[in-house]
């Protein structure tokens, strides 16, 4: 028989206002095995913990039940307190009478009754608890960064700086991400490339950083400290080690009509290409959808002109495998597709562009060499209308429910840059709210209005109609003037909502991390653990976690790096002892558990058994690797013979809790 102590917390008035804590302590005191039952104002305080410690010693307790807040808050506190008093940490159970009771009920009588029931369930469980000892597992001192945008680059640089090897996996032929496509950055208006490319070069020159460009993560196995990752290096049909990036092949390639994705399809590139001048690695890539040699075996010009013989038409996708201690996700964002917003005529009119397209139109390396011209007839636009919140802040059926956060600022930037460079151009911005929280952000927006005379109009554009004379009729409401406007515009720029990259969801499945309904990765705690995922060893960097501007992205990237470094510094980490184990005598070798295990922790072994008739038989039985098992419990549910059980959450413990609740 266990000797159990029950400790009921008031949590100030958080619990005590709705639950009669004295009655709970009194009722639980009569449960079998309970030798002491007390209440206290703040059990998590030092004096509260001392109460637990002293009681353990004084009453020789073998089990402790704390009726308090969620175990996510203070389970660790009380486990450590118990350990300090010489009791095994895993003999402590928490009955959550705050989140699951006092906070969600109003009536004191029913809340008290429920608190007692939850307490009884915990007592029933402690009766079956057994001391557990946590093992240790080694940490591989290497990190993987998925995504090579500014977030991934910054994270990799910081981790490398701390002395650890880092691999960057980037799906495109070059690192740089969205920031490489941006012309100027707010609120300082400095050139994006001027601040990004030094970091790209630094990443390529750092001997601790290994860039796998044009590659994808194909498979992830393992757990914190010991991930095994398969990386697919897609065939680029060019030997990376030989190519010098001279660019002769891209000049001579006869297939010149390939939409250039770096310039948002506003101009063309060749079938063999280097995305942009500062690309890292500066290596050519052949686009197999357009290359005539790969499609029908006729051409081979690039191979003939290449002086180092880097072209290899027979190259195939390659899978490499590597072990990592930590993984940082930095998969970034994309602007949404605007196909379903017919009213803005994006698909009908070349002069209706997205903001990212405008970045390219204004960039020196863009389709017009930095002169802002209308895509349709290459003339100077004299009236430009910006539309905010296209697809952001929508009902779920109409678009994204969230604010994309960056649009107000980049629109102010665009408006200002255009007025600065082309003062004869009238610029209108239709806004619902101007959201500029951030250092020097509102001042920036005010400059656009007061200094650059950009016309900010409170209201939304309802209809965009391309006209036969090449102009565009923009019909909108001006809510403050209470009138409907028609603006005869030359160009319309849409601030499209941003969404997580499409590769994020399959990646989340591979990493067994959580996402929200918008496919943004979910952080472990929205306030206190903003750069960690709920899965140990997986960290979040940049816009894959939520819309972010560059300063915020870089801050989060460094924070994620710091967390990863904290993990990589350790030689070993303490494992969770609440892992599955199989009762070999009951196991029938059906493989059900092996199939459901998300961590690959279960293998099957042939084992010799002494049978009742004194013969030996060889049977196939499940075996759990405790270092890999994360204690999710999927196998215990799947096991048809009841052989699989989970330490600390055994079937008998759970049933005892259910019995106590139903009694």
């Amino acid at each position: 028989m266990q000797r159990i102590g029950v400790f009921v917390c008031h949590c100030g008035t958080n619990i005590a206002a709705t639950v009669d804590v004295k009655a709970v302590a009194e009722a639980l005191g009569h449960e079998p095995g309970v030798v002491i039952s007390q209440d206290y104002q703040y059990m998590c305080s030092e004096s509260g913990q001392n109460l637990v410690k002293n009681s353990i010693k004084e009453h020789n307790l073998t089990g402790v039940v704390v009726c308090s807040c969620s175990p996510r808050m203070h389970e660790n506190t009380f486990r450590k307190a118990a350990a300090a008093a010489g009791l095994n940490s895993y003999m402590v159970e928490i009955a959550n009478i705050r989140e699951q009771c006092s906070w969600i009920h109003k009536d004191i009588a029913t809340a008290t009754e429920k608190a007692i029931i939850l307490g009884k369930a915990a007592v029933a469980k402690v009766h079956l608890n057994a001391p557990l000892t946590a093992g240790e597992s080694p940490v591989v001192k290497r990190a993987l960064v998925i995504g090579g945008g500014i977030a991934g680059i910054q994270t990799a640089l910081d981790i490398a700086e701390a002395g650890f090897d880092v691999d960057i996996v980037e799906k495109n032929p070059t690192i740089g991400g969205k920031m490489a496509q941006i012309d100027k950055t707010f609120p300082t208006l400095d050139c994006a490339a001027c601040i990004l490319t030094p970091k790209m070069v630094e990443a390529s020159q750092n001997e601790k950083i290994h860039i796998h460009s044009f590659s994808e993560v194909a498979d992830v196995k393992g757990f914190v400290g010991n991930f095994t990752v398969k990386i697919k290096k897609k065939a680029r049909f060019v030997d990376e080690t030989k190519c010098t990036g001279c660019g002769l092949c891209t000049e001579k390639c006869p297939m010149k009509k390939v939409p250039n994705e770096f310039n948002m399809g506003l101009d063309n590139r060749t079938a063999i290409y280097i995305p942009f001048a500062q690309a890292v690695p500066k290596v050519a890539t052949i686009d197999p959808n357009y290359c005539m040699m790969l499609k029908n075996g006729k051409c081979g010009v690039c191979s003939k002109v290449c002086s180092v013989g880097a072209i290899d038409y027979k190259q195939e996708d390659r899978i490499i495998e590597e072990k990592y201690g930590a993984i940082i996700v930095a998969t970034g964002f994309n602007p949404i597709k605007l196909d379903k917003y017919d009213e803005f005529a994006y698909n009908q009119c070349a002069d209706v562009v997205t903001s990212l397209e405008l970045e390219r139109l204004m960039n020196a390396a863009g389709p017009n060499g930095g002169t802002l011209l209308r895509p349709s007839d290459k003339t100077h636009p004299h009236t430009i209308v910006f539309v905010q919140c296209v697809g952001s802040r929508c009902d779920d059926s109409k678009g994204k429910p969230y604010c994309s956060k960056i649009c107000c600022m980049y629109t102010a930037k665009h408006a200002m840059l255009i007025r600065e460079k082309y003062p004869d151009t009238e610029v209108y911005v239709f806004y619902i709210d101007v959201r500029t929280p951030g250092k020097n952000f509102d001042e920036f927006y005010r400059r656009a209005v007061e200094q650059y005379n950009v016309h900010y109009i409170k209201g939304m554009v309802g209809k965009v109609t391309p006209k036969s004379d090449g102009k565009i009729d923009v019909q909108a409401s001006d809510l403050l003037a209470n009138e409907q406007l028609h603006i005869n515009a030359d160009m319309v720029v849409l601030a499209a909502a941003i969404e997580p990259d499409k590769t994020a969801r399959p990646l989340a499945t591979m990493l067994t991390t959580q996402m929200d309904t918008n496919d943004f990765f979910t952080e472990a705690h929205p306030k206190l653990r903003p750069v960690e995922s709920a899965t140990a060893g997986i960290f979040l960097s940049g816009a894959c976690q939520g819309p972010k501007d560059i300063p915020e992205t870089v801050a989060q990237a460094s924070a994620a790096a710091a967390k990863a470094i904290g993990l990589l510094c350790k030689n070993s980490i303490t494992c969770n002892p609440c892992v599955a184990h199989s009762n070999e005598l009951m196991c029938n070798g059906c493989s059900s558990c092996e199939k459901v295990c998300p961590y690959g922790a279960i293998t099957y072994v042939d084992k010799e058994f002494r049978m009742p008739d004194r013969t030996t038989a060889i049977r196939r039985v499940a075996s759990v690797n405790p270092a890999v098992c994360q204690g999710c419990g999927a196998c215990t549910v799947a096991c048809p013979s009841g052989a699989m059980d989970l330490n600390g959450f055994s079937n008998s413990q759970i049933m005892a809790e259910v019995d106590a609740i139903c009694k």
Partner: protein, 127 residues
């Protein structure tokens, strides 16, 4: 503020006016905007404030074409045209209020107007 009328409009339209984020896209897209005393976004806002009587008296009710452009394009799915329709119905259903008398007809006639339209108008605007 007329709570009863407000509730009636909200119930019969099925519209949650609190979803409106006041972007004004409904009024930006409305083809009848110039004809209307109260514009689509004002309909939604005035129902939210319970100011139904001015709407009931307004000619705007009969200027809405029910083209549903505002319903189609509202980012928040508020469906302003349904609010207009609900107020229109409330006006039509008011006891003893005729919005059209036979004496007004001769002035309104033109050669292109089908007879059926007159019958429909009578059904809609008289009690």
């Amino acid at each position: 503020m007329n709570k009863n009328l407000q509730e009636q409009i909200i119930r019969s339209s099925g519209v949650n006016v609190l979803k409106c984020m006041r972007c004004g896209k409904c009024s930006g897209t409305c083809p009848s905007y110039g004809e209307m005393e109260y514009h689509p976004h004002q309909f939604v806002y005035m129902v939210e404030r319970g100011e139904i009587e001015p709407l009931l008296k307004s000619e705007s009710l009969y200027k809405c074409l029910t083209c549903f452009a505002c319903v189609e394009r509202c980012p928040r799915n508020v469906e302003p045209a349904k609010v207009v329709e609900a107020v229109r119905l409330a006006a039509v259903r008011q006891q003893g209020n005729n919005h059209l008398t036979p004496a007004q007809i001769p002035d309104m006639l033109d050669d292109d107007l089908p007879q059926q339209a007159i019958v429909t108008a009578f059904r809609k605007y008289t009690k």
